[in-house]
């Protein structure tokens, strides 16, 4: 991992020194051991702030949207899942290819920082992280900790489709194998098996907790509307009341707005302060898109049309 950090820093430094880019967006060490924060580096001296490890869960591709009209080029550090966002943004004409440089890092999975932070002393300093295949070893100033991937990794990483970036100008490190991808819809299938009342009760319980903080929308790399329907006052399409029925409308609308473009990066799920399993809504749509139209995950290939933006004569037509 340290080796990868070094390589990322070298690459970033080179890009900045050669004036290929004016800004590098990457992961930097956060205030806590098990957290990273996005860093924005504009000088070769600043690259020492960059880091890499099993705590880099953020999807930095979202920040590219902020720089779409800025002069100069931007480099971004992406994992496999984030690279799908980059492709989706390119295909949506949100960013232009000649203005961005993609530094891809094959990713062995990201740990849930809360779970990790519970087990490490709060004053410990991070020394090194090592990937051992089935586990991560986090070496700290107060001792080494081993975290089993099965128990500590984000669910989205356990069923990862693209450990290796699907688009990258520079790839740092070695390519990694795909594991357990076939089981990606297990949670959705489990929920589908429930009866109508049970499903309704399950989602009522989830949606009733929603604070309408819109973190899921703000973090979403395909939520690119300049004016969001949930913010719009005239006409007010969706009420701002925070109750079960309005929250249900919000969640269904949000999930459906990104249908066919959602790259399944799982960020909405991760950032939810109320732990609402938002990704299970998006994954249901992914599963139906796969079953009905056999469409691949958006962003997994360049030049794919969004599933709801194309038509072929062979499409199933239940509404005729």
């Amino acid at each position: 991992m340290m080796n990868l950090t070094k390589q990322i820093r070298e690459q970033a430094k080179k890009l900045l020194e050669e004036k290929k880019v004016d800004l590098v967006i990457g992961f930097g060490q956060g205030t806590e051991l098990a957290r990273t924060t996005p860093v924005f580096i504009d000088s070769p001296e600043g690259v020492s702030a960059l880091t890499w490890g099993p705590f880099c869960a953020n999807n930095l591709a979202k920040y590219l949207i902020d720089y779409k009209n800025a002069p100069g080029n931007v480099a971004v550090v992406v994992k496999g899942c984030d690279s799908r966002s980059v492709i989706r943004l390119l295909d949506d004409n949100q960013i232009s290819r000649d203005k961005i440089v993609v530094i891809g890092v094959p990713c062995a999975g990201q740990l849930e920082w809360q779970k990790v932070a519970d087990e490490i002393k709060p004053d410990a300093a991070l020394k090194e992280t090592v990937d051992n295949g089935d586990s991560f070893v986090v070496k700290t100033s107060t001792g080494d900790h081993t975290f089993n991937k099965k128990d500590y990794m984000l669910h989205r990483c356990l069923v990862c489709e693209n450990p290796n970036p699907v688009i990258a100008d520079f790839t740092i490190g070695e390519e990694l194998p795909v594991k357990n991808y076939a089981e990606r819809f297990a949670e959705v299938e489990e929920l589908e098996q429930l009866g109508l009342e049970e499903k309704s009760a399950y989602w009522d319980k989830q949606f009733s907790r929603c604070l309408r903080c819109y973190a899921c929308r703000n973090v979403c790399s395909v939520c690119t509307c300049a004016l969001c329907v949930f913010d719009q006052m005239k006409p007010m399409w969706v009420s701002k009341r925070t109750n079960l029925s309005e929250n249900t409308v919000f969640h269904i609308t949000r999930a459906f707005h990104v249908a066919g473009r959602c790259v399944d990066c799982g960020e909405c799920d991760r950032v939810c302060p109320m732990d609402i399993p938002i990704r299970k809504l998006n994954q249901k749509i992914h599963k139906d898109l796969k079953d009905l139209f056999d469409s691949p995950t958006p962003g997994s290939k360049q030049g794919l049309l969004s599933a709801l933006g194309e038509f072929s004569l062979g499409d199933p037509e239940e509404f005729m």
Partner: protein
């Protein structure tokens, strides 16, 4: 089709939402579809989901 499945996934009854493609020249199809829809909705009864807080 996706929305219908999504609604059923969050707990709406199947059949609560109907979508049909009917041309302006297909008056009979429109009438028969509407008959079907009203019959189906009547048999389902009033929708209770998301209604609890509205007086």
């Amino acid at each position: 089709m996706l929305l219908k499945r999504l609604l059923e996934y969050v707990g709406f009854e199947p059949g609560r939402l109907t979508a049909r493609w009917i041309s302006a020249s297909e008056g009979a199809k429109f009438a028969s579809t509407m008959d079907e829809v009203t019959e189906k909705i009547k048999s389902l009864g009033p929708n209770t989901k998301m209604r609890d807080e509205i007086l």
